[in-house]
């Protein structure tokens, strides 16, 4: 178990005939997803667009996305892991305890129909949202759906992709990996990267009050993080780079107004499938870009004497 079987979004457009959204509401959170990539597009091997595809939606409540789905499967909150595990068994033709399945809010018959649909598909895909990855079970839920997709490849072509959003979070993840070896939750305090989500991830550091200053770029943690984390942001020097006033900027000590990336500042954004896109600004802004501000802060820091060990011996040899 482990890894991820995925593809770029164009593969979905060109080939996918079985599309599952799980624990997400793309109609409202990723409003262009259906029309640009998954459902209505006519691709190379899906010439009839929507007619060539079947869509299942799995969620705990009926959201506006349900209207787009062929089948809406409502599950009991917190039972995703059990359902995914049951599906893994059904796909492999293993025996399943019907009474245990009843507890999930879905009938065994419906799950069997779901499993059969996946196996019959020519090219299937799971898109999973925070309704799966951030609810009871968390990373175990993500592992379960990724494993289900992996195992389906013994029968047909199947892939999985998290529905990432929140600005350029994928880009941050990508750059962190090539610079530090890890995607997030990286601690550089010892002079080399260490990784431990749950210990070094932002919320944990804030709630434990481990940090005494924070720089926020391209995010609004004041709107989404738990209250103890927000309280600590208000307590310490928090610096925010943002084109507009946000929940975080209101409690920050310093707020730099920046040019909006993609509107009045250039840059690169990574799509949820990790494909980079060049942003070309349409407008000019009187404000500096995030990059300019960070470079100037960095230049000012470099003028101060370093706290870290300098290679004295090495210098002597040159």
């Amino acid at each position: 178990m482990g890894g991820k079987v995925s593809c770029t979004l164009g593969e979905i457009k060109n080939r996918a005939d079985f599309i599952v959204y799980w624990g997400g509401n793309p109609a409202e959170c990723h409003p262009r997803h259906f029309t640009r990539y998954t459902l209505t597009q006519k691709g190379k091997f899906t010439p009839n667009g929507r007619k060539d595809r079947t869509m299942w939606l799995v969620d705990i409540r009926e959201t506006p996305s349900a209207k787009a789905a062929d089948v809406f499967m409502q599950v009991r909150p917190g039972k995703d892991f059990e359902i995914l595990t049951t599906l893994r068994a059904l796909v492999k033709g293993q025996r399943v305890n019907e009474a245990a399945v009843a507890d999930t809010g879905v009938s065994l018959q419906q799950l069997q129909e779901f499993a059969d649909g996946m196996k019959k598909a020519k090219f299937g895909v799971f898109f999973f949202g925070m309704g799966l990855s951030m609810t009871r079970g968390k990373h175990m839920n993500s592992a379960a759906i990724l494993t289900l997709a992996t195992e389906l490849n013994a029968f047909t072509k199947f892939v999985a992709m998290p529905m990432r959003g929140h600005g350029n979070v994928t880009g941050s993840d990508v750059v962190m990996r090539w610079t530090t070896g890890y995607p997030f939750g990286v601690n550089l305090c010892r002079g080399y990267p260490r990784f431990n989500p749950g210990e070094f991830s932002t919320i944990d550091l804030l709630v434990r009050r481990d940090v005494d200053a924070v720089l926020v770029a391209g995010a609004d943690p004041g709107a989404t993080m738990p209250q103890p984390a927000i309280d600590h942001l208000a307590r310490i020097p928090t610096i925010v780079l943002d084109p507009k006033v946000t929940h975080t900027s209101k409690i920050a000590k310093v707020h730099f107004t920046t040019a909006a990336t993609g509107v009045s500042a250039p840059g690169t954004v990574y799509r949820m499938d990790e494909i980079p896109l060049t942003l070309r600004p349409a407008l000019k802004s009187p404000y500096p870009t995030d990059e300019e501000i960070l470079k100037r802060i960095n230049a000012a820091i470099l003028k101060k004497s370093t706290w870290m060990p300098v290679d004295d011996q090495a210098d002597a040899l040159v």
């Binding site: 979004l9 090219f123 750059v175 990790e274 870290m308 060990p309």
Partner: protein, 542 residues
């Protein structure tokens, strides 16, 4: 300005085999002489080599970065690079971070590396990573053999238009060469299939066979006068009995140039995993007789590796064999990619055969100008383990000791125990630097003549080849001392080599509508902007 005084110079491009002479450097180049009084490095008793050139490695891009995310357990065990005033932080291991990659390569005397597999769609990402890889000069090969627009053109028999598309794609990716991976097989993998028969049509096509893809691409590359020939990863990588596929492929390439990548993975006999054996002799015999080909070894060393390849179907099989993690990214219309962490074990019969085949090819292929040292990093082993291979090539007695540790059952399946050849330092200079530079068409690399880039590795003499080549006394890049006794002294950025083959600009009118139909980004956003590259050097196609 700098004078390196009194070292023994190994410069195979000029036939210098340990000749004692001064090397003078000015403005990043090697010059005939420098005025007295400038800095001198006393190299008396030291060995002077042109900086190493890696023709095939995976050090940047979406696939490698995916592998980094998949294997935090490797990073945790790996060498840490502390942030100092002269060095940025990083992590080594099988998938080093970009800064660590620069330090590790430079640290063993390598100054130029070529990333082997880049999809156009994510090429921007690859170039960003290459820009963040310090010290080294770089280039990359763009993936073509499963590009559906090209395959559709081959199906229609429109090779002339295909040629313009190839040229356009090379420039769009800002690449230096063209790589073909499992021709037709990755396209078939998009529906879960593969292409293992060389002359049967690829699934979804009636007129396109793997052989046709290979021979058409090789011809196109030659006609476009791309300096590096078609860089080819054959079909059926890693499969027992695949040497027949490799021979068939090489025969189809007669009359054109080609570089056979990681040949070790393509030289197996037998019918299944239980009967797998070495067929390096058959491959080497054919190869020796056909000077249109070059290759790199793709040698395997025992230990941890991460297999990363555009060969999606092979990786699915490897996942099923190992039951370990599996990553897969299919790239729309272009290629695929698979990632499976792997451990090569000396006690495993298949792994032992693979280990032997890599060394056998290096010993059986007679012309060192046509086989180059690689491990297909990080597939066969990590690049920073090259010195271990050098030692085994230079010392037959040591090699025999290592063979003794293999399971006895493997001995009848390999020819390594019968090979007594030992590489000289001169030959090591060829397979690590002069040869790959020539195969890449890089005239200023891999040599120490006047006008060459002053990329120089200076070693202590040591009977232990591994120790000698692991710890250079000095490494110079562009005339600057970047490494001294294992310490990074100076880190500068590198350059990137690209080519700009000519094509009919009207080809964009042909591509644009196909693009709207098959891709998910606008045509204008697809090519890599030249500004994204760090110091691009456009190499002529002539």
């Amino acid at each position: 300005m700098l004078r390196i005084k009194g070292g023994k110079v190994y410069d195979p491009a000029h036939g210098l085999n340990g000749v004692v002479q001064d090397i003078c450097v000015a403005d990043g180049k090697i010059v005939a002489d420098v005025p007295p009084g400038c800095r001198e490095i006393d190299a008396a008793g030291l060995f002077i080599f042109p900086g190493g050139v890696d023709i095939h490695t995976h050090v940047a891009g979406a696939a490698l970065n995916f592998a980094r995310a998949m294997t935090p357990e490797n990073q945790r065990q790996a060498t840490k690079f502390f942030h100092t005033a002269k060095r940025r932080t990083g992590i080594g291991g099988p998938t080093p971070t970009t800064f660590a990659t620069g330090y590790l390569y430079a640290g063993m005397g390598y100054t130029t590396v070529f990333e082997a597999a880049v999809p156009v769609l994510s090429a921007k990402h690859t170039h960003e990573e290459l820009s963040d890889t310090p010290i080294l000069d770089k280039g990359c090969c763009v993936l073509m053999a499963n590009n559906e627009i090209l395959l559709d053109l081959l199906q229609q028999g429109d090779v002339e238009r295909a040629k313009h598309v190839v040229a356009w794609l090379i420039w769009a990716a800002k690449a230096y060469g063209v790589k073909a991976v499992n021709p037709g097989g990755v396209a078939a993998w998009k529906w879960g299939g593969n292409a293992s028969a060389m002359s049967e049509p690829v699934s979804g096509y009636s007129q396109v066979t793997p052989l046709k893809i290979v021979s058409s691409l090789a011809r196109i590359i030659d006609e476009l006068k791309i300096p590096h020939p078609l860089h080819l990863h054959c079909n059926n990588l890693g499969a027992p009995g695949n040497y027949t596929t490799t021979l068939e492929t090489m025969k189809a390439l007669e009359g054109n140039r080609a570089h056979m990548a990681h040949l070790q993975f393509h030289a197996y006999g037998g019918d299944d995993w239980h009967t797998m054996r070495s067929e390096s002799q058959a491959i080497a015999d054919y190869f020796n007789a056909h000077p249109n080909l070059t290759c790199d070894a793709g040698a395997v060393l025992f230990g941890n590796a991460v297999t990363i390849t555009a060969d999606g179907p092979w990786q699915h099989l490897l996942y099923q064999l190992t039951g370990r993690k599996w990553g897969n990214i299919d790239v729309e219309n272009e290629t695929g990619c698979g990632i499976v962490p792997y451990s090569y074990k000396g006690s495993n019969l298949v792994n032992a055969v693979q280990w032997a085949v890599g060394l056998e090819l290096l010993l059986l292929i007679k012309d060192p100008w046509r086989i180059f040292l690689t491990t297909d990093h990080p597939n066969g082993a990590c690049f920073w383990r090259y010195p271990e291979i050098i030692h085994m090539l230079m010392n037959a007695a040591f090699r025999r000791e290592r063979v003794k540790k293999l399971p006895e059952k493997v001995l009848p399946r390999i020819v390594l125990p019968d090979l007594n050849r030992e590489y000289s330092l001169y030959e090591i200079a060829i397979i690590t630097s002069a040869g790959p530079a020539r195969a890449l068409g890089l005239k200023n690399k891999g040599q120490l003549g006047v006008g060459a880039d002053a990329d120089i590795a200076i070693y202590h003499e040591n009977p232990d080849g591994e120790y000698m080549f692991r710890y250079p006394r000095y490494v110079l890049k562009g005339g600057e001392v970047v490494v001294e006794d294992g310490e990074i002294r100076h880190q500068m950025g590198g350059r990137e080599f690209i080519v700009h083959p000519s094509y009919d600009p009207k080809i964009e009118d042909f591509l644009r509508p196909l693009f709207q139909q098959q891709y998910t980004m606008s045509f204008e956003n697809y090519p890599v902007e030249l500004e994204r590259l760090e110091h691009p050097i456009i190499h002529p196609c002539e």
